[in-house]
Assembly symmetry: C2
Homo-oligomer: 205 residues x 2
DNA sequence: GCAGGCCCTAAGCGCTTGCTCACCCGCCAG
DNA sequence: CTGGCGGGTGAGCAAGCGCTTAGGGCCTGC
């Protein structure tokens, strides 16, 4: 119930109701079994309708994945861009970015799993579109780190490699996070923000 | 050619020749498209034989995945266990563990991708067996970190959470590493070992 | 009261999938 | 020379796949 509500939360602006139920069902199914192991019958069943009804709202199964992937990536990018353009020191902005990104991957770990690990199933043109968004997300983090280095706040061996590592840490949360586990999304976000600040240099704390 | 050789390197003790070629083909196919999107016809074709020949050497497609997953996890565990039981300070041992683990995930990123991201396709009993190996790998890292904390070498906010983060960093290399990219496996290993040492506390460098 | 559009279903089409089966070839011992 | 045997093939089966099609209720406007 709570997990379902949390999954649904991000999709509330999709109409009509049936189309939204299908997206929520697809997110859950894709996250559980993977895109290729999920059948359209399964998605339709979870959404409480017949297999054929899916095709009234979406042309193909891949279009559902594309919808999920696009919205998820846009939300990620918005979060990271906001942190980049926010106020405070580079350390503040990096911590904000990591905290938000990690918390999102924990709270919406089903969506996160689809967004991060089912890219390869997208059609080539959809994939190309998504890659652009991903590159922009990477640039947001890289900019914050480069700012910190320029301001003398950070001391990193290599900006690009460190950017990759920070993104790795955040993204991988979607793989392992378990809502039944000991840690809340907030706690993981706080812990990971702390660890990242330690990575980028001396005297952050 | 070099990538194929690198992929094959880890499987040289499998006999007969046809069985080994099938494993190598399966690793490449599973890494490229994922387990469920890979057909037995594709695997057999890459190994240079007819679809039916696959079933002379392996009972099912899942058995191939299990073979790959088991060997990969055993190799990972051996690496981490060796680092844990090696000499030197906790910092030395942690750096050795991360360097080796990351380098392996970069060099054998195809195998790594299958090992880390196709777990869910295993049959329940095989999955349970693999989970045990994964828990042991996690324990190896946790032990090194706990040793460092006990010795006063490390200063971490939370041993378990930090262990998770270190593993995340290493595992995620298999997802993004590209042999055509700028970084060699050795370079990534060195960079990541440095970043991890920064994470676990003060004055490592 | 009923025409028209919207949302949905039952049935099923064409195709691909994992896997099997009957048969075959080259090698080596007697 | 021959008989058996381990490793291979071509053809194909049953099941499940993504997706389509013909048709049916229900709400709304006139």
């Amino acid at each position: 119930m709570s997990a379902e509500a949390a999954t649904g939360e991000a999709w509330e602006d999709i109409t009509p109701d049936a189309a939204r139920r299908l997206v929520v069902a697809a997110v859950q199914a894709f996250a559980e079994r993977g895109y290729h192991a999920t059948t359209t019958r399964d998605i339709a069943g979870r959404a409480g309708m017949s297999p054929a009804a899916l095709y009234i709202h979406y042309k193909t199964k891949e279009e559902l994945l594309y919808q999920i992937s696009r919205v998820g990536h846009q939300r990620s990018l918005a979060m990271l861009g906001e942190a980049r353009d926010g106020g405070g020191t580079a350390a503040d902005r990096l911590a904000t970015a990591v905290r938000a990104f990690v918390r999102w991957h924990a709270e919406h770990h089903t969506t996160g799993r689809v967004v991060q690990y089912e890219l390869g199933a997208l059609a080539p043109d959809h994939y190309a579109e998504i890659v652009v968004l991903r590159r922009q997300s990477e640039d947001a983090i890289r900019t914050i780190i480069a700012d910190g280095v320029a301001a003398g706040e950070f001391d990193v061996p290599e900006v690009s490699g460190t950017t990759l590592a920070v993104l790795s840490l955040c993204i991988d949360v979607a793989r392992w996070f378990n809502p039944a586990g000991r840690r809340t999304p907030d706690e993981v976000g706080a812990l990971y923000a702390d660890l990242v600040l330690r990575m980028v240099g001396p005297g952050q704390r």
